[in-house]
């Protein structure tokens, strides 16, 4: 263990995510440059930017799907590949990114969170089953565990994938547009869950362009447009000047309570 990590554990906070001047380019096209970010354990952080601003590229870099052409990423002090092997990182996908006609039950999906800790043939042990039951109870889906994943509502689907991340026991959670298509009870449950996660020392990074939810849920916010424009506590970073920079002069105004354009597709 490196000495920095050791002292941090003494202070009971760990640097969960550390990105130093990360650059990513796809065949010469720059998607992200000089992106730096530090996130401690027990924080909830919103990653805000327009489509194509580099949110998903940043996620991909954190998950090791793209290699930064410059810069360095550390998760819990380890390289991304090692962190993945330790099951530190969980990705909670957008609802649109999943094939819901796939013949798997809620139980099967949550069990997938345990695969990385199982042996190569993925035979569940008693401890894996207990972890799945525990995760399902926390998201209030234990009674629906036998349901096919496609038979769930949008909010229940989101909870199923959160349960998968819980079962994985990940300390870093990457959530992609978690509030899209989610009902009110699920939103309440997610709010409680996030607070519990924070208490447990997990770090949550939420990629979204829904500014209202960022205000309600996130302690920190990262504004991104090809690079990190501003980063800090939500109340300090959410200024109209910063949002102007992020959204190129046409920001959805969070201060008036108006929701982002995505919630009003007809406008």
């Amino acid at each position: 263990m490196n000495p920095i990590l050791k002292t941090q554990i003494k202070e009971k906070t760990i640097l969960r995510i550390q990105a130093d001047q990360v650059c990513v380019d796809y065949n010469g096209t720059v998607a992200l440059y000089d992106a730096s970010l530090k996130l401690q354990s027990g924080s909830i952080c919103g990653l805000v930017g327009m489509n194509g601003a580099g949110k998903s590229t940043f996620f991909k870099a954190l998950m090791g799907f793209v290699r930064p052409s410059r810069g360095r990423i550390r998760i819990n002090g380890l390289s991304v590949t090692k962190a993945q092997r330790e099951q530190f990182v969980a990705y909670v996908p957008q609802n649109e990114g999943i094939d819901y006609s796939f013949p798997v039950s809620v139980w099967d999906v949550v069990m997938m969170g345990r695969y990385g800790s199982m042996n190569i043939f993925r035979i569940p042990r008693e401890s894996d089953r207990r972890a799945v039951i525990h995760a399902l109870e926390r998201v209030d889906l234990i009674d629906l565990r036998e349901r096919p994943i496609g038979a769930l509502s949008g909010g229940q689907r989101k909870r199923a994938f959160l349960a998968r991340a819980i079962a994985q026991r990940a300390s870093v959670l990457l959530l992609d547009e978690p509030f899209a298509g989610v009902d009110v009870p699920t939103e309440k449950l997610m709010a409680e869950l996030f607070l519990q996660f924070r208490q447990e020392g997990r770090t949550i990074l939420i990629s979204t362009h829904d500014l209202n939810h960022v205000r309600d849920f996130c302690d920190f916010v990262v504004l991104i447009n090809k690079t990190v424009l501003a980063y800090g506590e939500t109340s300090e970073v959410f200024t109209s000047e910063n949002l102007n920079k992020t959204f190129g002069g046409i920001p959805p105004n969070p201060l008036s309570g108006r929701r982002s354009a995505k919630d009003f597709p007809n406008e």
Binding site: Y91, I98, F102, M112, P148
Partner: protein, 290 residues
Amino acid sequence: MSELFIYLMPVDWLVDPLTHEFMRRALMVSALVGGVCGLLSCFMTLKGWALMGDAVSHAVMPGVVVAYALGLPFSLGAFVFGVGSVALIGFIKQKSRIKEDTVIGLVFTGFFALGLVLVSKIKSNIDLMHILFGSPLGISRSDVNQTLIISFIVIIGLLLFRRDLMLYCFDATHARSIGINTGILHYLLLTLLSLSAVAGLQTVGIILVVSMLITPGATAYLLTDRFDRMTILAVISSSFSSILGVYISYWSDIETGGSIVLVQTFVFLIAFLFAPRYGILKNSNFVNSN
């Protein structure tokens, strides 16, 4: 022909063909190949690889011809060309702006044409019809052995890695984010696909083998919401169709490959109409009652 059905008791209809060595062999091979392809077809339909299955099965053609000409096991040649075609598809897609389905169509027809030209140019005792349409009734002992080995490899591979492959088909992003090497899974599935295509062309031939690699999975998909149950249903329906197809082919003196695939398609149509939850008759009732 219809007189046969009238005069024969059902038991005789089933037992009579078994007195022939070639029929026992054909039924055994067809049932096994049907089961193997049925198992793989679940992954093909869930991954959306139907066109890939079509491509690989056609692309093995020149491999079979070359292997026969060189006196090598035909499965070896077929396997090399099957995997080679996939590698070439990946290469062209990566290096050009052409869309994937176009590249797939382009590569497999090119390989298939090469196979046809080779058959006409290489003077040997290769029977083109045998390769194109299969001939389980005339399968040789060495071909049976090859098919047994291939089937064994595919079944073991799919059973051992079914969880990983299922996860890869369902959510490859999650698989990668927990440290699973999805590149290996991709090529594992392609390898098993090539091997299954080689096995399948024994019974139904190159042209129809894609049916073996898709239809049972599609049928099972309409019948259940459970992955494990889907694999079992696909294997059963595929083996059953293969056996029934061979029987019908024997008694009616019709082409065997076509017979097997027709039975399989018929089974699919039954599921399409009457599946408890996803059959169209069920759906129309549901709509009417509302």
